[in-house]
Amino acid sequence: MDAEATGGAGMPQLEFSTFPNQILWLVVALVVLYLILSRVALPRIGSVLAERTGTIANDIAAAETYKMQAAEAEAAYHKALEDARAAAAKVIEEARADIQKDLDIAIAKADAEIAARSAESERRIGEIRDSAMEAVTVVAKDATKDIVTAFGVKADARSVTAAVNARIKGGAA
């Protein structure tokens, strides 16, 4: 066999007597392999791949839904935040207005009181000034009478009074 193959044509591939044997076993092997692949292996792998494609598509769709829900939730959150801000601004505005009103009332009251007090003070100052003026007149008359008496002149009360009044008026003017 060795001598025949290596010594003869040198090519076992051209040993035609082995062809029927090779072809028979090739056909058997191919048929068996085809049956195994077409009945078991390929449908199984194909179904796994199809299932995976389906699962991935479903998951992507679900993810898309969740994403949209998240966007909606975010929008709702922002809207709530805006509303809360607006409400807070309104409350602040109202409080400020209230305070302003109270303040205005208080200021008006204080102004009135101040006015009353200053009027009162003015009146009293006037009184004090009047009484002081009276006192000054009296003192001036007395002093004038005394001074005139000291010079040895008998001064009558009426002319002294008139002279002092005229002097005070002139001085004041």
């Binding site: 076992p12 082995t18 044997n21 092997a29």
Partner: protein, 255 residues
């Protein structure tokens, strides 16, 4: 220097290389003759091919996991690769022939790869095997073309886009190339497998005879072995994609 030594060794007959011995078809269970039903090394290695393919595709995918395990990924990659090839090359209506093409591809791929195991027998290095594979493709594709399109399948050879005067000449060329297809289809595969294995065997023979300098052929064998792995896969791929191209011609014969 080394070259000289090698030649001397060859001339003195210090060793003998029989690169073709590995291709001999032998009966496994005794006896000398190879009859039709004899259990031979062809039987053994074809059976191992069927077992290996089944292991990868059936055992590998047994988990049917949504997230594939490693072995399942291998099965799925092989499946998707060939499925996409059939779909792209032969078109959508070629998909129903996918199991046949997958069978061809897996058988050739694993025959080629198992043949690279030391002391293995490479069934696809035999022209008898590849010729049957190629003729099966050729005959079934031709029959399919006539069944699907009747006589108008012959318009495959009548190139209507060419000038009228050229068409008979082109038709002749097309017909010749059509009938050469099974020949090139089968010889390409068998020739690649045979040559690669013979080269590995020759270099290995040198390694045994050169003593310390045997390291050089060993390096060469390693390199050639890597190349042969590539060739094994590429030849299986080429055989399959050509089958798809022929199938497309049968499905859509009008250019």
């Amino acid at each position: 220097m080394i070259e000289g030594k090698r030649i001397v060794a060859e001339e003195t007959g210090g060793f003998a290389i029989y690169p073709m011995e590995q291709f001999i078809v032998r009966p496994l269970l005794g006896g000398d003759t190879v009859g039709l039903f004899t259990i031979t090394n062809v039987t053994l290695w074809m059976a191992l091919t069927v077992l290996a393919v089944s292991a990868v595709l059936v055992f590998g995918s047994r988990g049917r996991a949504l997230v594939p395990t490693r072995s399942q990924s291998i099965a799925e990659v092989l499946y998707s690769f060939i499925y996409k090839m059939v779909e792209d090359v032969a078109g959508h209506d070629g998909v129903k022939y996918f199991p046949y093409i997958m069978t061809l591809f897996m058988f050739i791929l694993f025959s080629n790869l198992l043949g690279l195991i030391p002391w293995a027998f490479t069934t696809t290095s035999h022209i008898a095997v590849t010729a049957v594979l190629a003729l099966a493709v050729f005959i079934s594709v031709t029959v399919l073309g006539f069944v699907l399109h009747g006589a108008s399948f012959l318009r495959l050879f009548w190139i209507s886009s060419a000038p009228l005067a050229l068409r008979p000449v082109l038709a002749l060329i097309e017909i010749i190339s059509y009938f050469v297809r099974p020949l090139s289809h089968s010889i390409r595969l068998a020739g690649n497998m045979m040559a690669g294995h013979a080269v590995v065997k020759v270099f290995a023979g040198f390694a045994g005879a050169l003593g310390i300098f045997g390291i050089l052929p060993i390096v060469a064998v390693t390199a050639v072995y890597g190349l042969e792995l590539l060739v094994s896969v590429i030849q299986a791929y080429v055989f399959t994609i050509l089958t798809c191209v022929y199938l497309r011609d049968a499905l859509h014969p009008h250019h």
